[in-house]
């Protein structure tokens, strides 16, 4: 019994703050009114879902979300792998440690500051980018923050800049488990360093690459709110509105999208739609991961 008493606080917490909101998600099937609240507002069936699916925002937020996350997965994942492979061939301990400390650093910069730095750097008038462009091309630089493609590229490449070092930790760890005698034997047989990397190191980390990719695929519908929201403006909104930012705006910001007021039910609907898809994706991904090996999410 004392063992159960440890669980009292966590169980109360998880029920109140995690499961009760799940019950609250029934608002997706009701028309929210302040008097009715969660339990007594009028049932409307799938009306909110129809409203969401039929609005022009649906295709937009869905394709923007998928575009950003797929682009980030495919453009982003090779960098930490390559970086780890290269770093692993280096023997100079000191140099290696300095490189690691420096490249892990951006991971600790908050999203707000990261976007702040980007806004400074890519400012057309007085940012480095604006100055350099004018100096080289002789014309005023195009404003990257105000175009859709500009937004997407800034989002992706700043993400790669921030996390390629940090992301390499896993692969480096896997590489240190490679038996050094394999390398020595191969070198005795005349293999070059490059061939060693190609035929010893890469096969050694293929399993972990696969696992990481599968895990990333599990969060394909989860583009984090914070960075996208900070980078949004009226000019790039067609490319930058994603599910999570739209859910927030429908719930909290007056005059955005369909109506001109906030819509509690619609925001709940968007959230429920996203959570459900996430769950389905995770189940599928876990099934695939299970097929690939003994790796399993739970």
């Amino acid at each position: 019994m004392p063992l159960y008493s440890f669980l009292i606080i966590p169980v109360v917490y998880v029920i109140v703050f995690r499961y009760i909101p799940m019950l609250g998600a029934q608002l997706a099937f009701r028309r929210y009114s302040i008097l009715g609240g969660i339990w007594n507002s009028r049932w409307v069936g799938f009306e909110n879902f129809e409203m969401f699916f039929n609005s022009y925002q649906f295709n937009r937020v869905l394709s923007n979300t998928l575009r950003l996350s797929l682009y980030l997965i495919f453009a982003g994942f090779p960098f930490p792998v390559i970086f780890a492979l290269l770093l692993n061939t280096i023997r100079a301990r000191r140099f290696k440690r300095v490189v690691q400390t420096v490249t892990y650093m951006p991971h600790f910069i908050s999203t707000t500051v990261l976007v702040g730095i980007m806004l400074q750097f890519f400012n057309v008038n007085y940012g480095i980018y604006g100055k350099l462009y004018t100096a080289l091309v002789g014309a005023r630089a195009p404003d990257l923050f105000s175009s859709g493609t500009g937004f997407v590229n800034l989002y992706i490449w700043s993400g790669i800049w921030q996390d390629f070092g940090w992301g390499s930790i896993m692969y480096l760890a896997a590489l240190t488990n490679v038996n050094p005698e394999l390398h020595e034997a191969a070198q005795l047989d005349g293999a070059s360093r490059f061939q060693c990397m190609l035929h010893i190191d890469i096969p050694a980390i293929i399993p972990i690459i696969t696992i990481m990719l599968v895990l990333r695929a599990g969060s394909v519908m989860n583009i984090g709110f914070e960075k996208v929201f900070l980078m949004q403006n009226d000019l790039n909104i067609a490319a930058s509105e994603v599910i999570s930012t739209y859910e927030y705006k429908r719930g909290f910001v007056v005059s955005s999208g369909i109506g001109s007021t906030t819509d509690v039910s619609l925001s709940t609907t968007i959230g429920l739609f996203n959570s459900t898809i996430n769950l389905l994706v995770l189940v599928v991904v876990n099934f695939v991961a299970g097929k690939l090996g003994e790796t399993s999410l739970w």
């Binding site: 004392p2 609250g24 970086f83 908050s110 400074q120 959230g271």
Partner: protein
Amino acid sequence: MRSKNRLNMREVRALRADRRGTAIALARSDRIFLAVVYGIILLGTLIVLYPLLYVLAASFSSPSAVTQGRVVIWPVEFTLAGYKQVLAYQRVGIGYRNTIFYTLAGTTINVFVTLICAYPLSRKGLPHRNFFTFLFAFTMMFGGGLMPTYLLLNRLGMVNTVWAILIPGALSAYQMIVVRTFFASTIPDDLLESAKIDGCNDYQFFWYFVLPLSTAVIAVIGLQYAVGHWNSYFSAMIYLQNPDLYPLQVFLREILVMSQIDTPEFMDDHAAEAIQSMKNLIKYALIVVSTAPILSIYPLIQKYFVKGVMIGSIKG
């Protein structure tokens, strides 16, 4: 076959001895390869480092030098004007104070709840263990969403209080499972058995044996929670209306992203350009003031963060 292997092993040993002494001569192709490797790594490191150094240099330069693009990597016309403005901002001080409070209090709550949740779930003898594990793990995969959570906190009277920042994220199921796995794999069953025989109850065992044996994992998850608190602005933006409660990140958003800067009084007569330059400088100084503490502490405790990535990769 066997003799050939043995020969190889002898050669390998010779090779190792050779390496311990003078460096073995590299083939030419290997030297070129290594040069390319060093080149790419240096390039990558510089690409990471340069923006950081630039921000630092710009924050110490004169407003006009920054705006005119004369700063390259070293302060131009050194001045502390930007920092003076930043430090004169009350909001920055309030934000810092609040962020430190949220980080300390929030992390304490996080670590406490995570530990007391993970420990019983790590014990094989716990009845209905799978049910409870699932109860928590499921929250990683599915959630009620933003609006229902907001309505709940509103109902509980937590909106616009510090509790809205500290309590809703009290437990990360992911971290809990990391700790549970750690407990299950490092606390020997025999230890519990012998402690029980000596009359130790579960609370005492947890306090006197489990916690002291788990300082590494506590440091790891504590740091991860702490960085999360330090960097987050979303819940503050949603749940807080009182600026006195805002964490630093919310003020940073206002100043860095939305450019809401009170231009200093004495600038009123100056041209718009001068005001713009000053704003610019303030932003650089603010970036340094808000980021330097974490970036200068982190190398000292880097190994705990790195360990966190590794521990997290072991599945429960």
